[in-house]
């Protein structure tokens, strides 16, 4: 059996690899040509309409067709403000104390239909997404409208200059714009048309999308980065059956695994069967968490919420549910893979992260103080989505809660009803998964912990925390901001706003001939394929 590095060292390994690449280790001579074959677990849910979905099933296959203003450097594993590079924007500049973000656009970019790309396209895209009063159109579903709540106006100063005018300083805007969720749409085609096709500026043009079967790209010969992409094409094959996806990877019919697909156990089996496969463990920016409806008893009582948080052994979850393939962390992805996570020493002092026996004793005490006892135990219904990865986690949590005297029954919710149930608050307690675009506090806090956010399923709302969130959002000093972000995380843990159980690791698997495809610490941001080449 293959032995992977201990979890604490996994991140270091990824970082080391990234550092090696960044430091310009002896570069292999790139070889142009070839077609990279990838898998999809389902057909593109909303075509290429990235602004209308929040799923990797859309972002991963759409990215090669599109471009952002800026992007996280595909060759650097750890994303941060320092790894943001220009894409449609040649350069950018913060002005007026981070109140205006000015982008200077490339002048040599053409849409796939031959029309020139200008600032009009950028204004059109972001006015649509932020639902500006004079927006040219409306998205029928707009999950990331909140990301741009601080944008007062998007101005096309001239054909190749765009200014984002902000209500207050917000350094994170640049990171959100670098996310895979922030492509620029063409102004001359309706946003709805991205659901059925793709007019992009990206390195690849759609050759054929055979519904339910595959999506095929060819190299964009007019791509604005000379010499890129290296590949002649890409082929994304839809394989619904997980076992067949793994079999196709193992037998070389596909070159690359789907992000967040390969568990630690799968990785061990793959490596044993085909030792030359290159497997990279990385943090996906996807976490398992417990949502508790704070609007209703008993979880309006912070003691009960804390009892739940203390009652669940995080390391136990990681072993039992993920066979070791996950990391312990608070609201932000843990270090070293994440940038903002709490240090191990801080984390172990938070409720729920200490020794399991001690934590469970404290949990029982808290339940006692809240009026529950072995004679009159707390009985709750735990909801979760009817998908195996949710149900496994929920089942383990129920067994943990039983040990502290909470009797929970499991109710599986049909996928179609899951988000409606959570958003309406038709539940007491639930086991949930959350994926976050970029590893950034604004993207995470405003979406999952801000008062009134539609994805704040626990309905947690603390004015003091909101003030802290706003404060960190406009803090310009990185060190001060890190301290503020960590303080918020501690506060969220103290109030058991949405107890985090773990941060999932994926074991990204590629054949050794696939070069320059490096997973980042978020599954959504490394799918452009512009730098990838095949050593065949």
């Amino acid at each position: 059996m293959i032995r992977f590095q201990p979890l604490a060292r996994v991140g270091s390994a990824v970082l080391a690899l990234a550092a090696t690449l960044a430091a310009g280790a002896p570069a292999e001579a790139t070889k142009p040509g070839g077609v990279l074959t990838l898998t999809l677990r389902e057909d593109l849910p909303q075509g290429f309409a990235v602004h209308e979905t929040s799923t990797i099933s859309t972002v991963w296959p759409s990215a090669p067709c599109l471009n952002n203003l800026v992007l996280f450097d595909p060759l650097k594993a750890t994303e941060s403000v320092d790894t943001v590079i220009g894409e449609l924007a040649e350069k950018w500049s913060w002005q007026d104390g981070y109140r205006n973000l000015v982008f200077f656009l490339r002048k040599d970019v053409k849409w796939h239909d031959g029309k020139p790309f200008t600032s009009k396209d950028v204004k059109h895209t972001y006015d649509t997404v932020r639902e500006a009063p004079d927006a040219p159109q409306k998205l029928r579903i707009n999950p990331r409208n909140d990301w741009y709540a601080n944008v007062e106006a998007v101005e096309a100063a001239d054909a190749y200059t765009v200014i984002f005018r902000l209500k207050r300083p917000q350094p994170s805007l640049l990171l959100m714009l670098a996310s895979g969720y922030s492509p620029v749409y063409a102004a001359h085609v309706p946003a709805a048309s991205y659901r059925t096709g793709c007019v992009g500026t990206g390195p690849f043009k759609v050759k054929e999308w055979r519904k339910g079967e595959f999506l095929e790209y060819v190299r964009n010969p007019d791509y604005f980065v000379k010499g890129r992409p290296y590949l002649d094409g890409l082929k994304y094959v839809v394989i619904k059956e997980p076992g067949t996806r793994i079999a196709a990877l193992r037998t070389g019919q596909v070159d690359v695994s789907f992000p967040n697909e390969v568990s630690k156990t799968n990785a061990e089996q793959l490596k044993a069967a085909v030792p030359k496969l290159v497997i990279t463990p990385y943090s996906t920016n996807v976490n398992d968490n417990i949502i508790m409806n704070i609007k209703k008893p008993p979880f309006d009582n912070v003691k009960v919420r804390l009892a739940v948080s203390r009652g669940i052994d995080r390391r136990g979850v990681i072993q039992a549910v993920h066979q070791g393939g996950a990391l312990v962390g608070a609201a932000m992805a843990p270090k070293p893979q994440g940038v903002w996570g709490l240090l191990e020493s801080d984390l172990s002092a938070q409720p729920g992260y200490g020794k399991p026996a001690d934590e469970k004793a404290k949990a029982r005490k808290l339940l006692g103080e809240a009026g529950y006892s072995p004679q009159s135990p707390l009985k709750v219904e735990m909801v979760t989505r009817n998908i195996a990865i949710y149900v496994t986690m929920a089942s383990f949590v129920i067994s943990e809660l039983k040990q502290i005297g909470i009797e929970a029954t499991l109710k599986q919710i049909e996928t179609a009803q899951w988000h409606a149930t959570a958003t309406r608050g038709d539940y007491q307690i639930g086991a949930n998964l959350t994926g976050i675009g970029p590893d950034d506090p604004d993207a995470n806090f405003y979406e999952n912990f801000a008062c009134g956010s539609p994805r704040n399923y626990s309905f947690y709302c603390n004015e003091q925390v909101m003030a802290q969130i706003h404060q960190q959002s406009q803090e310009l000093d990185p060190k001060k901001r890190l301290a503020q972000v960590q303080a918020i995380q501690k506060k969220l843990e103290e109030e058991a706003a949405r107890p985090l159980l773990d941060w999932r690791l994926d074991y990204f698997t590629v054949w050794p001939h696939v070069k320059n495809l490096l997973p980042h610490q978020s599954i959504y941001n490394f799918a452009r394929m512009q730098e990838v080449w095949l050593d065949k």
Binding site: E42, D43, P45, Q46, G47, E52, T53, S54, T55, S57, T58, R140, I141, N142, P143, R195, T196, R210, K211, G212, E213, F214, K235, V237, V238, I239, K240, E241, G243, T244, A247, A248, R250, T251, Q253, V254, E414, T415, A416, Q417, W418, H419, A420, T423, R424, P454, R455
Partner: protein, 317 residues
């Protein structure tokens, strides 16, 4: 016969009408709709936006209006538009049909080629060692669901050969050899189970016929056993076998879901499951209607074949 067929067609139309009510009603009873799925992919829900999409798709209208619209679409040959792909349903369904029909046809061919001869041998050699072996094989076939067998075949291929059939559909005109390879294993997985059933039915029907007086007479008149079995007995034993083949073919169309999924073949059954998951009503309704039509047609073909196989069978004339 003509009158009979016309009457059967009339009954078939009524059956399909009844089916359409059931399909339409059951779909709407399932929790959630396409808009819920779209919001699930977005990770939030907004009542106002939801209403706007329902309106856009025409799903806010009364059910009876939607139902009549669908019926009218069928009558006029326009199957409506997929909610998910925003494309005409027929455009999506058309390429799926040959895949599923070919797979089902191949599977049924394999099952007949395996099932009938082994059934005959088993009957002729009743209670011999060979009979026991064949019956055991047939029992194994009946006990193994085709989806399980499909998974075992894939796992076996990976483990022992380091190879699996192509995961992207290869058309017969693109590469006939690869096409055959791609279809042979799933057809075997499905066909083996059906062949077991056909073998057992052939055996029992033939055993019954072999005990008839006219068989004894034929043998007494000096006909060879081969002629008696294959020309006289088997033909008379074929009625139940043909019935089973017809039923198996009909059920195969809808029952290929897992086989198509495991072997990643882009057929009707796999697409239907995805359409159900997406609550893509126009796609589900039309695909289920297609399956219903195949079931009715294969029953009709079986009934007509009765008359061909056994001249004594006459239909109400």
């Amino acid at each position: 016969m003509k009158t009979y067929i016309l009457r059967r067609i009339a009954i078939a139309v009524l059956t399909l009408l009844g089916m359409s009510v059931v399909i339409f009603g059951l779909l709407r009873l399932a929790p959630g709709d396409i808009v819920d799925i779209l919001f699930a992919a977005a990770g939030y829900v907004d009542a106002e936006q939801k209403q706007a999409i329902l309106q856009e798709l025409g799903m806010d209208r009364p059910y009876w209006v939607q139902y009549l619209e669908w019926l009218w679409q069928i009558v006029t040959g326009d199957l409506g538009k997929s909610y998910r792909y925003e494309l005409p349903a027929w455009q999506l369904i058309k390429p799926l049909l040959p895949v599923t029909l070919e797979l089902a046809g191949l599977a049924i061919l394999i099952s007949v080629l395996l099932g009938v001869p082994t059934g005959v041998i088993s009957a002729v050699r009743q209670d011999s060692g060979l009979d026991y072996v064949l019956r055991m094989l047939s029992l194994a076939g009946l006990s193994m669901p085709s989806f399980w067998l499909a998974m075992v075949i894939i796992l076996g291929c990976v483990a022992w050969l380091g190879w699996i059939p192509p995961v992207t559909y290869v058309g017969p005109t693109d590469n006939l050899r690869l096409h055959a390879v791609q279809f042979m294993l799933p057809a075997l997985a499905v066909g083996y189970r059906s062949s077991a059933l056909i073998m057992r039915i052939t055996r029992s029907a033939l055993l019954e016929v072999l005990r008839e007086d006219y068989i004894r007479t034929a043998l007494a008149k000096g006909q060879t056993a081969r002629v008696v079995v294959w020309r006289h007995a088997l033909r008379n034993a074929m009625l139940p076998v043909v019935t089973v083949i017809g039923i198996e073919f009909a059920f195969m169309i809808g029952g290929l879901v897992v086989t198509e999924t495991v072997f990643n073949l882009p057929g009707v059954a796999r697409f239907l499951v995805e359409a159900i998951q997406w609550r893509d009503y126009p796609m589900v309704q039309n695909l289920v209607m297609f399956i219903a039509i195949v079931v009715i047609l294969s029953n009709l073909v079986v009934d007509v074949l009765y008359g061909v196989l056994d001249p004594r069978v006459r239909y109400g004339e």
